[in-house]
Structure formats: C-alpha cells, structure tokens
C-alpha cells in the first residue's frame, strides 16, 4: 500500500495535543511540589493543593497519556492493518472533543467540581463526554480491523483491542453516580463497597492506560527502531492473556488493612504476586530482542528509551506486588514511598516509551529527519536523572516517615507527633522539587525537538 494513503495528520495533531498536556500537567506538578514545603503558593482557592493535585494527575493520565495513546494507536492501526483510517472526519471530531473535554476537566477541577474518586474525579457531564470520545475512537479501531488487508493481527493490536474494551467497562461502572446538579453528584455505591469499586477501577485504569497501550507501543516501536524481531511470539501470547486475566483481581491491594472484607484483600495480594510473571515475561521478551545486539543501547538513541523504559517497568512490577504484602504495606502505605513508586512508572516507563515512540514516528509521518539526535540524547539523560532522583528521594522520605510514625518510647507511648514527621520530610520535598525541575527541563527539550522536526523544511535529499 502506498504511504500517501495513510491518514497521518490526525497522528501528528494528537502528538501535539500530548505534548501540550504533558507540559501543562508537569507545570501543575511542579507547582504542587513547591506547595508541599511552602504553603505560600496556595494563592487562590483555584491553586490550592487539594484542587491542583487532581489537575496534575488527571491532565497527565488523561490529557497526556491518552493523547499519546491515540496518536500512536492511529499510527499503529494503519501500519499494522495496511489499511487507511476508515473515518478520518470522525477521528478529527474525536481530537476536538477530546481536547475540549480536557480543557473543561482542568477548569472544573480547579473550580472544585470533583467527585473525589481518584482518577475518576470528573463530574458526570464530563464523564459523558469521555464516553462519547471513547466511542468515536472505538468505531475507528474496530472498523479498521474489519477492513484490514493484513490477515494476522500483530500483538500490539491485541493490547489495543483489550484497552478499547476494558476502559469503557471500567469508566462506566466507577462513575455510576446520581446527579444533584450539573456540577455535583453522589456515587451510587457507599462505604466499603464504594472503596472496592473505586480501587478495582483505580488500579485497572492505570493498567489499561499506563500498561496495556504502552506495551502496544513497546511491541511495535522497539522492533521498528532496532530492526530486530521480537524474541518470542509464544511468550508474547502467554504474557498477554495472563496479564489481562490477572490484572482485574488485584485492585484491593490498594485497600490493605482497611475495613474492606479481608478475603478480597488476600485474593488481590495473591493475584498481585502472580502478576509479576506475565509482567516479567514482557520484560524478558524485550531484553532478549536485543540479544547479540546490545551495542544498540550505545549506538542507537531510540533503543535506549525502550530498554531503559522497560527496565523501569520491570522494577515497578516487582515493587508494586511487594509493597502490597501486609507487613510491608503496614509500614509504607500512605507514605511517600508509594508516590515514588507511581512516579517511576509514569516518568520512567510510560514517558520513556512514549518519547521513543514519538522520536521514531514523527519523522516517519512528516517525511523529515529528526531535528537533533543530540538533543534527544540530552533529553534522555535529563529525564533519567530527574526521575531517578525524584523516586529515590520519595522512597527515602517514605522509609523515614514510616519509621518515625512507628517509633515508640520504652513506656509504649509514641515518640513523634505527626507534625514531627512532616518537619523531617521538608528537605526531601525540596529535593523532590529540584529533581522535578531537572525532569521538566528534559521534557521541554523533547517538545522543542518535536516542534522543530515538524516545522523543518523537507530535506533536499528526500526522506
């Protein structure tokens, strides 16, 4: 099929939308990181920590990650089916509606309209918009699969299909709410049942945004970037099915030692430990793909993003189940340790894979060479350093706070007040802000590099 029949403008525009939300979301992140050691930045109610933290998480999870997923999905779907996008105008509508929804999301969350359930804070009218754009996306996904010219569906398509189906299910159930006004609603579930539904959602929305579609990118762009086929097709199959099977059992590991019935917690823990196997199946598949070609990590700037990215996925998927274990959880839960865990996943795994994918994809769709490989390398090292510093500082802070809260005097009384632990954490919060600033700089270089690539005059030699 001729390259010119593919619809690439939608890919480019979703990529732009990803970069805009990435910068905005990280700006909010830096802002709240500062508020954590100096309350002076709580300038207005709209910028107070409780509201802005939700803007930070929502914009990065939905604005940034979803945009990047849509951009790469529209690209991979066309390439892997060797068919052009069936409904380009629908995709355009999807782009506009998605960005309008995200703008409204940021504005309403800052205005305090939020349903309080983590990663599902949007009020009900926006939930409806989310489902509409998700439907618009799904139509193109299934239409192109039906009209495909390539009989076999590659593994990346499996992950995209599973994402398309599962997100709809998760989002609908956890957002079942009864409206009071257009700006306020109450969950239909109460108490422990509501908590259980929320973390079934909360854990799996991370799974089906920050894992499955990112794995789709990994399986497609790693072989493309390195010119090496995936090591084992069988391992891909086994890890896919066991991953999507086991994921849905594990939500309650976010509710260890809460009033939720104990058996649900224990089942969640057991499946969390099991989940290490399929996760590492992917990791091993990634590493072995480079077997005998390890020098690409030095010679091919793209390989670095994917191999380091999947390394953080490996660390994440080991750390996650372990911190669920009751004794470990008793110490670490509710502390900065968990914040470190999340940030390694988001800043290491997710953002590195998306960065590598964009660096491969943007030159392909524009027919222009990347503006600067050197800048891409600087971007890589800055986000690696920023992310590692941030997560390690957060882990250290988590260990410190966990230990202080558990310390007792010989007579059995508590040694430290809650405020004592906060005072001990302030230096860590300042370091975290600095680490975030380093990361932010790296991301700005990434954005600059992509913008310069797209705005380049077509190379005289032809791309």
């Amino acid at each position: 099929m001729d390259d010119s029949t593919y619809e690439y403008r939608i890919v480019r525009d979703f990529a732009y939308s990803a970069l805009i939300w990435l910068v905005l979301g990280l700006t909010a992140g830096l802002w709240i990181a500062f508020e954590m050691f100096d309350p002076a930045l709580n300038l207005t109610p709209w910028l107070s920590f409780g509201r802005l933290r939700v803007v930070h998480t929502s914009i990065l999870t939905f604005g940034f990650a979803l945009s990047a997923i849509f951009a790469t999905a529209y690209y991979m779907l066309q390439r892997l089916t060797r068919a052009s996008l069936p409904f380009p105008r629908l995709a355009r509508g999807h782009l506009y509606l998605f960005n309008v929804t995200m703008l409204l999301a940021a504005a309403t969350l800052m205005a305090g309209m939020n349903s309080s359930k983590e990663y599902a804070e949007l009020e009900w009218p926006l939930d409806i918009l989310v489902l509409i754009f998700w439907g618009m996306f799904s139509v193109n996904v299934f239409a192109i699969l039906i009209r495909r010219h390539e009989k076999q569906m590659y593994i990346s398509l499996w992950y995209l299909i599973s994402t398309t189906v599962s997100i709809a299910l998760l989002y609908v159930v956890n957002n079942l709410e009864i409206p009071v006004t257009p700006f306020k609603s109450y969950s239909v579930f109460a108490g422990a049942a509501d908590a259980n539904v929320q973390w079934w959602y909360g854990h799996n929305i991370i799974g089906f945004i920050f894992t499955m579609p990112i794995l789709a990118m990994f399986y497609y762009f790693l072989p493309k970037s390195t010119g090496l086929p995936i090591y084992s097709h069988r391992l891909s199959i086994v890890s896919f099915w066991s991953l999507i099977f086991a994921y849905l059992w594990t939500g309650a590991h976010h509710l260890i030692l809460t009033p939720l019935p104990e058996w649900i917690q224990t089942v969640a823990l057991a499946f969390s430990i099991f989940l290490i196997a399929p996760s590492w199946g992917v990791v091993i598949n990634g590493y072995y793909t480079l077997k005998g070609n390890g020098e690409q990590i030095r010679s091919n700037y793209l390989a670095k993003f994917f191999i380091f990215g999947v390394t953080f996925y490996a660390l994440q998927t080991l750390q996650g189940p372990l911190q669920g274990l009751r004794t470990v959880n008793a110490f670490f839960h509710y502390s900065d340790w968990v914040i470190g865990h999340v940030h390694m996943g988001a800043m290491g795994w997710v953002t590195m894979i998306i960065s590598g994918s964009f660096y491969y994809m943007i030159p392909k769709i524009t027919g222009k060479e990347l503006y600067s490989i050197r800048l891409a390398n600087v971007h890589f090292w800055l986000i690696l350093a920023g992310q590692l510093a941030l997560t390690i500082v957060m882990w250290a802070g988590g260990i410190l706070q966990g230990a202080m809260l558990k310390t007792t005097n010989p007579d059995g009384s508590l040694t430290y007040s809650f405020l004592d632990t906060l005072n001990a954490l302030y230096p860590y919060y300042q370091l975290r802000f600095a680490a975030g600033a380093v990361y932010y700089t790296g991301i700005l270089l990434f954005v600059w590099n992509i913008i310069r690539t797209v705005s380049r005059k077509p190379a005289a030699t032809g791309a």
Binding site: V165, F189, A193, I244, L419
Partner: protein, 223 residues
C-alpha cells in the same frame, strides 16, 4: 494462532477474560452484607454536616487526609480505635483516601474544640507549628448555600423530611450565632462581620469534622 485473525471474537474473548476477576472481586461483593453492614449506633449526617462533607470533597481534603485507621498498634495509639466498615454506611462516596500528608481524620471529631478548627482552617500554622496545610480562611467569607440540601439528603437516602432539614439548618445557625456559643470569640475573629449572622461554609466544614468518629466514641463511652 487462529484467534489473532478474528478481531470480533478476540474483542469478546478479551472482554470475558477481564470480566472474571471483575465479577469475583468487585461485582459479587456488592451484594454481600460484609461490604455494607449497617449498625444502629452509626447515624447519618445532619443536613449541615453533609454540606460540610461536600466542601471537604470540593477542596480535595481527601488528597492529604485519610479516614481509615488501620488495626495497627501505633495507629490506634495515634488516632483512636481502628475503623470498621459499618461506620461508612452513609459515606457516598467513601473518603478513605490514599495518602497521609496530614493525619488521619476518622477519629478527629471531638478531639479539639470548634475554636481550634476555626483557627486551624483560617491558617494552619496558627495552631499547628510548621504545617503545610493550605489556608482556608476564605471559607468563612462564603455563605453556606443550602438550596439543594434537602435534595442531597434525599439522594443520600437519609430519610429526612423537608421540615427536618430546614430545622436542622436553623438549629445549627442558632447554635453558632448564639452569644453563649463556646467558640464564639474565635468564630467572630475568622468570620467577616457581614457573614456573622448566618451559616458559612467554614461552619459547615467544622460541623462535619466534629462528626467524624463521634458515633464510635459515644458507643465506647456507653459501654
């Protein structure tokens, strides 16, 4: 493998695989008594407490404060007896939280007088050393909007009549504006003069905070 060339069947099958864990760990528990036990000693929120709870949600307090004490020695020492699921029968949505940048609040009701909360909400460092809690003094300048309060209690299933809701609101207003109110001096200090005679958002938030864990504490006293 055959299935990888059949997108529709693939989508259905992957949906079914995802549903197994969903049904066992999320759907079935919705119908089990253990996830929503009720108990006579746990009372629904009053109209003003519910409005205060909505302000707690609006300001994202749950981003920094949990509302579940774990059955661990040092937590019980620090906060009070551990949380049980029947305490949350009227929590729609639940507000257990996932992170403690501030202390747990499930047992905070009655721990401090109202005056402490007025001062703390206005500026946390007034009473709490080097706290990083954002200032919420502006809540005292917002009159409490009770337009939808009755409707809210109906949706929550609290079973109050419209008259009861009106009486509850009037009762709370009378309580905090009474010259003999024990925290009057502090309330007068943080509240702008034009708002002194009515209920403010801060009044409602304080009422909600003071409700947290009170039912359990009164049960303990009764025993």
């Amino acid at each position: 493998m055959e299935i990888s060339s059949k997108p529709a069947i693939f989508a259905i099958l992957s949906g079914l695989v995802v549903l197994i864990g969903t049904v066992v760990t999320m759907f079935v528990p919705l119908f089990m008594r253990s996830t929503q036990p009720v108990s006579r000693y746990v009372k629904p929120y009053t109209a003003v407490e519910l409005e205060g709870r909505d302000i707690y949600i609006r300001e994202g307090c749950n981003n920094c404060h949990t509302q579940t004490v774990r059955p661990l020695m040092t937590e019980v020492l620090r906060y009070g007896t551990y949380s049980k699921s029947e305490e949350f029968a009227y929590d729609r949505p639940f507000l257990w939280g996932s992170r403690r940048i501030g202390p747990d609040l499930n047992r905070v009701g009655g721990k401090y007088p109202d005056a402490w909360h007025y001062s703390h909400l206005q500026r946390a460092r007034n009473v709490s050393g080097n706290s990083i809690m954002p200032p919420f003094g502006w809540l005292a300048a917002n009159r409490l909007d009770t337009t939808n309060t009755f409707r809210k209690t109906v949706i929550q299933g609290f079973g109050y009549s419209r008259r009861q809701v009106t009486e509850q609101i009037a009762g709370d207003r009378a309580r905090v504006t009474d010259p003999g109110y024990e925290s009057k001096a502090m309330r007068d200090r943080v509240t702008p003069p034009e708002c002194l005679t009515g209920l403010t958002e801060m009044d409602a938030l304080v009422a909600y905070i003071q409700k947290l864990g009170r039912d359990v504490k009164s049960l303990e006293v009764a025993q």
